[in-house]
C-alpha cells in the first residue's frame, strides 16, 4: 500500500462525497461550499498526477474565482434575510436513471478500451513544457482565449447592468 494509493483513495472519496453533496443538499449556499471542496479535491488529484502548476491554477481560478462569483450571484438572486434557501429537486429517479445510464455507457467503453501502461514519472518540468507549448503551437489559441475573456467580460457587464 503505497502513499500514492492511499492518497488516491482518500481524494477519491472526498471528491465523490462532496460532488454528491453539491447535487443533493437542499441549501444552495451549502451546495456552493461543497463545490469548493470538490474543486480543491480535484486540485489534489492534479497533484497526484504530477501537475503542480495545474493544481495551483485550479485553486486560484476555480476554488477562488468561480466560487466567489457564484456566492455573489446567490446573494443577488435570493432573499437572504429572514428566509431559508430551500432547494428541492424534481424527478430524482428519472435523473438518477439517466445519469447512471450515461455512466454505464462510459464505463462500458473504459472496460473494453486497451489502455497503456503508466509511464514512469519523469522529473521533467511540466510547467516549462506547458509554457513552451502555449507560446509555440498554441499561441494563436492563447490570443483567441484572450479575446474570449474580453467578450465574456463585456457580456457579463451588459447583462448585469442596472436598468436606467
Amino acid at each position: 500500500m503505497t502513499l500514492e494509493t492511499v492518497g488516491f483513495w482518500v481524494v477519491a472519496v472526498v471528491l465523490l462525497a462532496s460532488s454528491l453533496a453539491v447535487v443533493l443538499t437542499p441549501n444552495l449556499f451549502h451546495a456552493v461550499l461543497y463545490l469548493a471542496a470538490a474543486l480543491v479535491a480535484t486540485g489534489v488529484v492534479f497533484l497526484l498526477l504530477d501537475q503542480p502548476f495545474l493544481f495551483a491554477v485550479q485553486l486560484l481560478l476555480y476554488a477562488g474565482g468561480v466560487v466567489t462569483i457564484v456566492v455573489f450571484a446567490i446573494m443577488l438572486t435570493e432573499r437572504l434575510v429572514g428566509e431559508r434557501l430551500v432547494q428541492t429537486s424534481r424527478h430524482l429517479v428519472n435523473g438518477a436513471i439517466v445519469a447512471a445510464a450515461v455512466f454505464v455507457g462510459v464505463a462500458g467503453f473504459l472496460i473494453r478500451a486497451p489502455l497503456e501502461a503508466p509511464h514512469p514519472f519523469q522529473s521533467m518540468d511540466t510547467t516549462a513544457a506547458i509554457g513552451r507549448a502555449l507560446f509555440g503551437p498554441f499561441a494563436i489559441t492563447l490570443e483567441l482565449l484572450g479575446v474570449l475573456l474580453v467578450v465574456a467580460l463585456l457580456g457579463a457587464l451588459y447583462f448585469a447592468r442596472s436598468e436606467e
Partner: protein, 100 residues
C-alpha cells in the same frame, strides 16, 4: 499502482453526478453548479490522459478549459441575475418561454 482507468472511472463518476445535478436541480444556479462538476470531471480526464501518454497537449487543453469555464460562469450568472430582475425568480420550472 493507480492506473489510468482508475482516474478515468473517477472522472466518469463525477461527470454522472454532475449530470444528475443538471437534470434535477430546480434553481438555475444549482444547475450551473452541476455543470461545474461535469467540466471538472472533463479536466480530470484530460490531465490523466496527458500524464499517462506524456503528451503536453492535454495539459494545455486543460488550461484553456478552465479559462473558458470561468468566462462561462461569469456570463451565465450575469444572465441569471438579469432573469431574476425581470421575473423575480430563478426557478427553472418557471422559465419556460421556449415552450412551443
Amino acid at each position: 499502482m493507480i492506473g489510468l482507468s482508475a482516474y478515468l472511472t473517477l472522472a466518469a463518476l463525477v461527470f454522472s453526478i454532475g449530470l444528475f445535478g443538471v437534470l434535477t436541480r430546480r434553481n438555475a444556479i444549482g444547475i450551473l453548479l452541476g455543470i461545474e462538476l461535469m467540466l471538472n470531471a472533463v479536466n480530470i480526464n484530460l490531465v490523466a490522459f496527458a500524464r499517462f501518454s506524456g503528451n503536453v497537449t492535454g495539459l494545455v487543453f486543460t488550461l484553456f478549459t478552465i479559462s473558458i469555464t470561468v468566462a462561462e460562469v461569469a456570463v451565465g450568472l450575469a444572465i441569471v441575475i438579469a432573469i431574476f430582475r425581470v421575473r423575480r425568480t430563478v426557478e427553472a420550472d418557471r422559465l419556460d418561454l421556449l415552450r412551443g
